[in-house]
């Protein structure tokens, strides 16, 4: 009947988009898999034939592998912690009626519009530079020795920069969630004798759990593949080499496409492990 007919018509019309998206995903994936089994050194002889699982074994046994996994997880975890905690606090703050609310909200959201490369450069040169940076001046003002942020506290610095970029996203989502909280619930809990902190813990936080879940899931997807901030600041030195960065180095600096591709496959596996793990912990919030 008409529905059957329109359904097949709908399929026909959706097909180009679906095929395009599928190709977009599958072609790079298959190429990565293909190269990961090859010995392929573009500047040193090109395609040197099949390599079996050599690339996979070499990639994991390299001394840089586990530290890079650790660095990835630390950056993702640290950024998530900071953005969620401060996102909730900022969301609550921005929800208070205050003078100039509109302007303040736009200011808070602004960092999200700055390109990662640009923001990392700004942080590196204007804040964290040990000679000319604002922090250096601040430290000197108090008579302290300026900190060499990017070499002495590289992970902390990168987490700070990335958190600064992602805080607006978290704040925005959490603010809208806070705005949707029924005011009568808060009043009821106030009458029930819950002081401010308990109201936060028993009423606001559970109300936000779903929004927090979404923030965590979306941020994790993007943070696992973070690259520009590291490239621009430490260049992967001082223990800040993530898995993505390691792959980049293998492919472009060592000119070993096969080895890098194997790393890419490991990155996919790591992302899936993290995803399953997260879904287990926080995903159940989405069902409720």
């Amino acid at each position: 009947m008409a529905t059957q007919h329109s359904r097949s018509a709908a399929r026909m019309m959706m097909a180009p988009a679906v095929i395009l998206l599928l190709g977009w995903m599958l072609v790079p994936l298959i190429m990565t898999l293909y190269f990961s089994f090859k010995k392929y050194l573009p500047l040193r002889g090109g395609d040197l034939g099949w390599a079996g699982f050599d690339n996979y074994v070499r990639f994991v046994t390299s001394s840089a592998f586990w530290p890079s996994v650790q660095a990835t997880l630390v950056i993702v975890g640290g950024t998530l912690l900071i953005t969620v905690v401060f996102g909730v606090l900022l969301g609550i703050l921005l929800n208070q009626p205050m003078w100039g609310q509109g302007v303040v909200r736009i200011l808070v959201i602004a960092p999200f519009f700055v390109m990662p490369t640009v923001s990392a450069l700004v942080w590196k040169n204007m804040f964290m530079d040990p000679v000319n940076g604002l922090f250096a001046h601040l430290w000197k003002f108090f008579g302290a020795q300026p900190v060499e942020w990017l070499s002495d506290a590289s992970m902390f610095s990168i987490i700070t920069i990335v958190s600064w970029q992602w805080l607006p996203f978290a704040t925005l989502i959490l603010l809208t969630a806070i705005q949707s909280l029924d005011g009568e619930q808060l009043e009821a809990s106030e009458m029930d004798g819950a002081p401010v902190l308990k109201r936060f813990y028993y009423i606001i936080l559970p109300h936000l759990s779903r929004a927090i879940t979404i923030v965590i899931l979306i941020e994790t997807i993007f943070l696992l593949s973070i690259f520009a901030e590291i490239f621009v600041t430490t260049g992967g030195a001082f223990g800040s080499r993530t898995l993505t960065y390691l792959i980049f180095q293998r492919v472009l600096e060592s000119q070993n496409v096969g080895l890098g591709s194997a790393g890419g496959v490991y990155a996919i596996i790591l992302a899936n492990i993290v995803a399953i793990f997260l879904m287990r912990i926080v995903g159940k919030n989405l069902d409720a």
């Binding site: 009458m191 029930d192 409720a288």
Partner: protein, 334 residues
């Protein structure tokens, strides 16, 4: 416990004065109903008593103690909100336990009170559900349960039944009245439904634009409304208010006669009119009558089986002992 006294209480939101100076005493154990049209300040007044809103000036005493600046939790009052305001992520049991948990009551006592409340409110089978899995009436009962377990010195209800369907509303109305008889706790109940007010209240407070028009028992208000507003607001269907020459005959600006205090006849009577719409309810018939000077249409309550048709001529005679007279200022002349 449970006496509430308002002295010269006022409330303004910015420049808008919602409650002009107001005095009111609610005695211990009384079931007091605030009625009035929408926007007259009933909820505001209730929230002032609860402490959810700061009063602009004046004083609120609870049990003889100045409570004007006490936070809501310290006033010993429990409130049931129109939207129920249940905590959606907690089970019914946890919802009811919440105020006791906040007060740090010991577990055994909490369980005892929850079980007692659940039994009284027919919630025993639902204790482990979430509010989202309950019907409107059940949610309402959970909200009441949460208020009961605190054993407050007074209950505050803000239009608690307005989200329920007509049949359930009648049922819950009885349950709340029953609960009041059993607990004998002061209750303040806000509604815009005068039937709820008449059936439940020991004392009705009629409000208009933040001003108390009259305070009294339901029958006092019915028998002797202090002014035209109360006369028109209390009673269903509304009292007929007649102006002009008919009123002048009784030396009044306006006379009022309730539909149930008019005798209908097809042959003779004081006033003559034609039948408009007749609403047959079975037990009663409300007939709208046109053509009587000063009041159009006039509503009459007749027996259930009256045989009048649209367009018939009927004669009406008011029962003189039930005639209300009002002056030009709207106040009652006795």
């Amino acid at each position: 416990m449970g006496q509430i006294q308002l002295n010269q209480v006022t409330k303004s939101f910015g420049d808008v004065n919602v409650i002009p100076p107001l005095d009111l005493t609610i005695h211990e154990g009384e079931f007091t109903v605030f009625v009035g049209p929408s926007g007259c300040g009933k909820s505001t007044l209730l929230r002032l008593i609860a402490g959810l809103e700061d009063i602009t000036s004046g004083q609120i005493d609870i049990d003889g103690q100045d409570a004007t600046n006490l936070p809501p939790a310290k006033r010993g009052l429990a409130m049931v909100f129109q939207s129920y305001a249940l905590y959606p992520h907690m089970s019914v049991r946890k919802n009811i336990a919440f105020p006791m948990k906040m007060a740090g009551m010991d577990e055994a006592e909490q369980t005892r009170r929850i079980d007692a409340a659940a039994k009284a409110l027919n919630l025993t089978d639902y204790l482990d559900r979430r509010p989202g899995q309950l019907s409107g009436g059940q949610r309402q009962r959970v909200a009441i349960g949460r208020a009961i377990v605190r054993e407050p010195s007074a209950f505050l209800f803000d239009e608690p039944l307005s989200n329920l369907d007509a049949a359930l509303r009648v049922g819950m109305r009885l349950e709340i009245s029953e609960m009041h008889k059993r607990l004998k706790t002061t209750m303040i109940y806000v509604t815009h439904d005068q039937v709820e007010a008449m059936t439940m209240a020991d004392k009705i407070v009629v409000l208009q634009a933040g001003v108390i028009e009259q305070v009294g028992s339901p029958l006092e208000l019915y028998r002797e409304p202090r002014n035209k507003f109360v006369a028109g607001f209390i009673g269903s269907p509304k009292m007929n208010l007649i102006e002009g020459s008919e009123a002048a005959k009784h030396n009044a600006h306006t006379i009022g006669i309730r539909p149930e205090h008019l005798d209908v006849s097809t042959t003779e009577g004081q006033w003559q009119g034609t039948v408009g719409v007749a609403e047959h309810l079975g037990s009663d018939t409300f007939i709208h009558i046109h053509g009587i000077e000063g009041c159009d249409p006039l509503t009459v309550r007749a027996g259930g089986e009256v045989a009048v048709k649209h367009g018939d001529t009927v004669y009406l005679t008011p029962q003189m002992q039930h005639l209300h007279k009002f002056g030009a200022d709207g106040l009652r002349i006795s």
